[in-house]
Amino acid sequence: MSWWTRISNAIRGDRLGREIDEELESHIAEAIEQGRDPAEARRAFGGALRTREECRDSHVLPWLASLHADSVFAWRQFAKHKVTSAAAVLSLALAIGACTSAFRLIDALLLRPLPVVAPEQLYTVVHQSFDPKGAPFTDDQWAYPCFTLMRTAVKGQAELLAVSYAARTDLTYKSDAEMEKADVQYVSGWLFDSFGLRPAAGRLFNADDDSKPRAHAYAVLSYDYWTRRFGRDPKAVGRTLQMGSDLYQIVGVGPEPFTGTETGTVTDIFVPTMMHPGVTHDDWTWFRTMVRVHPGTATEPLRARLESVALAFERERAKSFKNMPQASIDLFLRQKIGLQPAAAGASGLQKTYSTALAAIGVLVALVLLIACANVANLTTAQAASRAREMALRVSIGAGRARLVQLVLVLVESAWLAAFSAALGAWLAWWSAPFVVSRINPPDNPARLALPADWRVLAFAIALTLAVTLLFGLAPALRASKINPASALRGGSSSPHARRRLMHALIAAQVSFCFVVLFLAGLFVATFDHLSHFPLGFSADRLLVLETVAPAARPPVFWEQAADHLQSLPGVEKTAISGWPLLDGNGWNGFVSVNGAPPGPVLAYFLAVSPGWRDTMKTTLLDGHDLRADDGSPAPALVNETFVKDFLKGLEPIGAQVAKDRVPYRVVGVVRDTPYRSLREPILPAVFVPLRDMRTATIVVRTAAPNPLAIASMLRHEVSGARVSNLRSQMDLVQAQTVRERLLAMLAMFFAAVALVLAGIGLYGVLDYTVLQRRREIGIRMAVGAQAGDIALRLTVEVLRVVFAGALVGLALGLLAGRYIATLLYEVSPGDPAMLAIPAAVILGVSLIAALPAVLHAVQIDPVSMLRAD
C-alpha cells in the first residue's frame, strides 16, 4: 500500500478501525459456529484492543495517526476556550502581521537583489569626504568627464555604468498643452547588456546608442510604465515623446521584473546619458556611478585605481577654482573613493529609511515577544488547570517517551500560531503597501516593488514555527514534567516553579514594553519638535506655482505674471522667487564681505521679487525691503544667521557682499527661515533681486483658508509660461517631516498595542495567582491578616516584578537609543523626561491591571474557602 493510503488512513482512521473490528468479530462468530465456547473464543484473542492496534499500525503511519488524534483533541480544546483563544490569536496575528510587513519592507528596500544577471557583482562608487566642520560624509554624485576617465582606466576589470537620479519630468506625447509627468532616468547605453536584460518589446539600448552628445534621442519604457500608460500596446514602440525641446523615439520596452536600479522609485522612461545636457560639463554632478566588477577582479586594487583617476581629475579641476578659500580646496581634495555593495540597487530612500525600518523592525519584534509571553502565560495557566487530565494520561500508559503532553501542548500552540499567521498574512498583505504609500509626499509617492513570493512566505513560515516554539515550548516542557501521583491527589506539583516562570515572563513583557514606549516617545518628541519648528514665515494660505517659460525671461515678465494673479478674486498677495523655500533646491557660494577674501563658510542665495518678504510674512528686523529702484550695486536682504556668520561686529546695513565677484549691498535684515530642509541648522541666506530666468516660482497668498480651492483657476491664468507644479507651501513643510510622522505614527500604534498586551498579561497572571493562592489567603485572613495587608503584599509582589522588568527595559532602551540617534531631532535618549514618561505609564497600567486581582483577593471569604476542597 502506498504512503499516500497510509497517510490518508491515519487521517480517516475510523473506517479502518471498523473494518478490523468486523473481521475479528467474524472470526469469533466462525469459531462459535464450529463449536467453540463463546467465552473461550473471545479470550483466545487476548487483548482484542491490542490486536486491533497492531493490525491498524501496519496500515497507517503510527506517529501521524497519533499526531492527528492530538491535533483533533487540541482543536477541541482551542475551540472550547473561545474568548481566550480569540484574544491570543488576535494579539499574535497583529504581531506576526506587523513583523511580516516589516520584513517585506526591509527585504524590498534593502535586501532583495535586483532582477539582473549576477547582482552581487554590482557596487556604487562614492566620494567619502568631510564637511567644513570635519564630519565625514559620503555622496554618490559624479560628473560625466570624470566617469569617462574612470571607465577607460578600469576597462577589462570592471564595467562602469552611469545611472542618473530618477526625476519626475514634464513630457508630452501630443502638444505642450497636454503635459504629463514621468520618472525619467538617464542610463549608460551598455547598461541593459551588462545587466543581461532582454526587451519585452522592440529593442533596448546598446553601447552605440550612447556615444555622441545629443545624438541619440531614443527612449526605452519600463514594463510597468508601458502597462500603466499604454495598456501594453505594441504600437507604443515607434511613437515619439517630447521632453524639453527634444523629441525622443520610443525604441522598446524593458523586461517585466526590472524597475530600475533606484530602489523605491519605479523608473518610467530610460534615455541614454548622452542626451543629458550635463554630459560635457566637468562641474555638473548628476548621476550615480555603478560598477560591475568582473569575476576574478579584486575590489581593493580596483577601488585604488578609481580613486587615483578621480582625484587626478578633481585636482586638475581645482586649479580653475576661483573665490574659494584654500582650506576648502584642500578639504575637497582630501576625499577618498569607496565602493558600496549595490546588489539591491542604490537609492536615497535606502539611505533615509534603512535605520527607520530597522527601528520599526525592532519595535514589532518586541511586540511579538510580548504577545508570545502573553500566550505562554495563558498556556501555562491552562496546562495547570489541566494537570489532572495530563496526569491521568500518563498513568494510563501514555509513555513519557512519546512525550504526550509535550506534543499535545505544542500542537495546541501550533493551532494558535497557524490561525494567527493566517490572519497576520492578511494584515501584512495590505499594511506593507500602506506604509510605502506614506513614505513620500502624495505628489511623488515612493514606489517599491513588494512581491509576495517565496522569500516572504519562507519568512512567515519560519516566524510561525519560531513563535510556536517561543510560547509553546516552556509550558509544554513544564506540563510533561508532571508527577501523576501528586497531581491526581489534588495538589499541584510545583506551583512556585510555575509562578516563577510566569513572573519571569511578566518581567520580560514589562521590559520590552518599556523599550517600545521609550522609543515611541523619542520618535513622537522628534516629530513634535520638527513640526513646531519656528518657520520664520507663515505657510498658511500660501500656494507655490513652479512655472516654466519656453526660454529665459526678464524679471519684468515674471512680475507681470504675478501682478496679473494678484488682480484675481481670492488672491491677497503674490511675489516671485527662484524656487520655493523647503523644496530641497539650493544655490550656494563663498562670499567676500567688504572686499575681504572669501571665508570657508558657504552662503545660500535665493532670487526674490521686491514683495516676496511681505508675501511670505517674514519679519524685517532692520533696514528696508528690496526696491525696484535701488540702483547699483544690487540690493540684498540677509537673514540673522548670515549676520552672525559673516557680519559679526559690522554694521549690516550697507555692507558689501560679493559672490563670484558680483557685488550686492545689504539693505535689510530678515528673521531666520529654514532654506532647504528643516533638519539642518539654519543656513546663512542672502535674498537677491530677480535675474533673467527660465523657471520661477510664483508665491500666492490666498484670501480663502483653503489655498488649493483656487489652484486650478490660477493654473490657467499664467500666460506665456506653463505651471509645471502647483503645491501649497504647507505640503512642502509637511513633506519635510514625512519620515518622522510615519515613525511617530507607527511607534505610537505599537506602543499602544504593547501596553494593552502587557496590561492584559499582567492582569491574567495576577488573577491566576490569586486563584491558585485562595487557600493560602483564606488561611492568612482566618488567622487575622487584614485586607490591607493582603492587598499590600500582592501589590508589592507585582511592583517587584514590574520594577525588575522596567530596569532591564531601561538598560535596553538606552542601548537602542544609541543606534537611532540619526532618526532623532533635538531629543536625547538620555533625557530623564524621556525615561520618566514610559516608566510612569507602565507603573500606572500595572496598578490598573493589578486592581481586579487585588480586589478579588481581599474579598475572599476565609470560612467558605477553608471548607472547600
Partner: protein
C-alpha cells in the same frame, strides 16, 4: 510434545503456503488449516495471526476481499498475489536452507 505457538518465525511461510494451495480462506480457516495440516502440532494464535495477515497485506504479498457468506455475515478472505508467490518461494528456500543447516549441526553434535 506441547503445542507450540511460537512457530519460530515460520508463520508467514505457513500462511503463504496454505493460501497458495487453497486461495480465498478467511482468517479462521487459515488458523484451522495450520492446526490440521500440522497434525495438531502447530497452533497460530489469533493475537499473532491477524497482525501478521495485515502486515502481509500491507507488504503486498496477499490481497484481501470482503465476501458475504450464506449466513449473511461478511467475511474477509485472503488470496496470494504475484509478489506473494515470489515471497513464498524465497521463504521456502530459506526455510529449507535453515533446517538443513540446523540438522547438520545436530548431526555433528
Amino acid at each position: 510434545m506441547p503445542k507450540t505457538d511460537s512457530l519460530q518465525g515460520s508463520l508467514d511461510l505457513l500462511v503463504l503456503k496454505i493460501l497458495s494451495r487453497r486461495p480465498n480462506l478467511h482468517g479462521y480457516a487459515i488458523m484451522t488449516a495450520i492446526r490440521d495440516w500440522s497434525g495438531d502440532v502447530l497452533n497460530a494464535e489469533e493475537g499473532s495471526l491477524y497482525p501478521a495477515l495485515h502486515r502481509m497485506e500491507e507488504a503486498g504479498w496477499i490481497r484481501a476481499e470482503w465476501v458475504t457468506k450464506d449466513t449473511g455475515r461478511r467475511a474477509r478472505i485472503y488470496e496470494l498475489t504475484a509478489t506473494g508467490r515470489k515471497q513464498l518461494d524465497a521463504e521456502e528456500t530459506r526455510w529449507q536452507a535453515v533446517t538443513a543447516a540446523v540438522n547438520r549441526v545436530l548431526r555433528t553434535a
